[in-house]
């Protein structure tokens, strides 16, 4: 009996406290709604700045997901637009560097072949002018048995 009565009192007390609290907070809201204009303006500015920051973060997150979906090794930086830009430029830089290396290698190879031919010609006992003689050229083309 006493326990039931105590429970009832506690429940009633909770309801009364809650009603009182909501009455007080309603008055607080009433007062908070009438903040000074400069405060309201600064809050508006802060809100707009936050929304802009959220927009940038959202774009960064979407871009990061796209990159990781294609298997690029930038998973750890999916939220950093700065790192993403660097990561996305790496394949292009590697391609350009590869082409440059191939070009350099080809040039060196051609120079090397030309140098070997020149060295062979200059080092031979036969004078170079002999190759300008049409008869000698025919002699070279002819089979060894003739």
């Amino acid at each position: 009996m006493n326990r039931t009565e105590n429970n009832y009192r506690l429940a009633a007390s909770d309801v009364v406290e809650s009603r009182f609290a909501h009455t007080v907070t309603a008055r607080l809201s009433e007062r908070a709604d009438t903040v000074a204009p400069e405060i309201g303006e600064r809050l508006r500015f802060a809100r707009e700045k936050a929304v802009e920051a959220g927009r940038l973060a959202r774009q960064g997150a979407v871009y990061g997901l796209g990159v990781t979906a294609h298997g690029a090794a930038v998973a750890g930086f999916s939220r950093s637009r700065w790192w993403l830009r660097i990561a996305s430029a790496l394949p292009l830089a590697a391609l350009v560097a590869g082409l440059a290396i191939i070009q350099e290698s080809q040039t060196r190879s051609q120079i090397s072949v030309a140098a070997e031919v020149d060295a062979a010609l200059l080092g031979d006992d036969l004078p170079i002018n002999a190759y300008r003689d049409a008869g000698f050229v025919e002699y070279l083309k002819a089979p060894p048995g003739e």
Binding site: A21, A46, K49, V51, A57
Partner: protein, 188 residues
């Protein structure tokens, strides 16, 4: 993921209360503005991928953390600890009836015809000061629970304490407010 409009609408709905909470805590309007701005940007940058329904609890927690960060920066931790100590009742809780106080407060505030706008503003000022005078933890629990309308579990999560502590803080805050308002003549 919350859209720009959802984020903006949410921030607009809570910004004044958040600022007021910060003012209660740090007693400095400019510092409170910095705290709220910092909290808004943290929410937008770090939790923009969360659903809009999760924003209120996250924001309250960020505001609380930003407020604590402000205190740390100001190196007044000792003052915070002192303010965070539990409200010590004088043991006279049974000496007045909270229901009477509530009814008196309600009738005082709702009888607009009897009170002109100046006296109403004065009453709001008294209530504002009474809330500001509450110990910090009690005030935080009271405002989160009844002003931000978080439930007990959410309030506990936001404050980093148990649900029992929230109930205790809220109950003590209500009794302290009723007592203060009664003493200032708003209640009989």
């Amino acid at each position: 993921m919350a859209t720009d409009k959802e984020l903006s609408d949410f921030l607009k709905s809570v910004e004044k209360r958040a600022w007021k909470r910060a003012v209660y805590a740090v007693r400095d309007e400019d510092a409170a503005l910095d705290i709220v701005q910092d909290a808004m940007i943290r929410l937008a940058e770090k939790y923009v991928d969360r659903p809009a329904a999760e924003l209120p609890l996250l924001f309250q927690r960020i505001v609380s953390n930003a407020t604590m960060d402000w205190f740390r920066r100001q190196k007044v931790r000792n003052q915070v600890v002192r303010n965070f100590s539990d409200f010590e009742s004088a043991g006279a809780e049974g000496e007045f009836d909270i229901l009477d106080t509530l009814e008196a407060l309600g009738s005082t505030l709702e009888s607009e015809s009897a009170a002109d706008s100046v006296s109403r503003a004065q009453i709001l000022q008294v209530i504002d000061e009474a809330v500001a005078e509450l110990p910090a933890r009690q005030r935080e629990a009271f405002l989160l629970r009844y002003w931000e309308e978080l439930d007990v579990a959410e309030t506990a999560a936001s404050m980093g304490c148990s649900e029992g502590s929230v109930k205790t803080h809220c109950s003590r805050a209500v009794h302290a407010l009723a007592k203060t308002l009664k003493a200032k003549g708003i209640a009989p």
